[in-house]
Symmetry: C2
Subunit: 144 residues, 2 copies
């Protein structure tokens, strides 16, 4: 039922659970983010929340990232791109280099391989990053 929750936004709930305040500004920013099913850039969000300071948008994005409800990744040229991360469990992403669309992608194989690699690596693994670049179906179709 979840009737006792202040909001039905996963983003807002996540920060509230960690003791951060839910403010009207954060509501607006979370709304703009949740309207972006294919990922977004920070500046896109800035553009969609007129009246909200740029610093505040970046602070909110950082906060959502900190509580792991949004994920930050990078295009081949290093340009950052964000996406909502509802699933929770660790996973990776495919990013379309044409339109920037981000999709989740969970491959248990990769996790196993990474574990196996640990033995070959000189030092102790503390984390990893992985992005798979694709041309999505839509971009493939429109390229015909």
């Amino acid at each position: 039922m979840r009737s006792a929750l202040a909001t039905d936004s996963d983003l807002l709930n996540a920060i509230e659970d960690r003791g951060y305040r839910i403010t009207s500004t954060r509501r607006v920013i979370a709304g703009a983010i949740e309207e972006s099913p294919d990922g977004f850039t920070a500046e896109q969000i800035c553009g969609r929340v007129p009246g909200v300071g740029r610093a505040t948008v970046y602070r909110a994005i950082k906060l959502f990232h900190e509580v792991e409800v949004i994920c930050k990744m990078a295009l081949p040229d290093g340009a950052p791109r964000y996406a909502v991360d509802t699933g929770g469990r660790h996973h990776h992403h495919t990013i379309c280099t044409g339109c920037g669309a981000v999709q989740d992608f969970r491959a248990s194989t990769i996790e196993r391989v990474l574990k196996a690699i640990e033995a070959d690596v000189d030092g102790q693994i503390t984390g990893h990053r992985m992005e798979i670049y694709v041309t999505c179906q839509t971009c493939l179709a429109s390229a015909d």
Copy 2:
């Protein structure tokens, strides 16, 4: 014997092979880069080549990257780091989050997994990026 080559620098040879000019400035920059076995940042190179313009250093790094003799990667916070890429064949890197040391790392397993993944992905894979973050032996030892 390679006696006919203008230089014994892999970096300079690589750009010469692609038709770019070898200049005294590029010699100096290549020298500074090749003195960095554990990777480097662009600004570190700028600091080591006094008298050479910052833009020129960035242009040279970009050029070396273009001809694939240096590799660009990212620390967990996105800070860029470069490393010489002598091997040639595709591989990945481990990066020590303590000191930034970069090591090559070739896992055929990963390549196989990525191939297998292609079937699961919605769209056509065009590339990927992967970094493994570690605490290197030196940093582990000095943390005791």
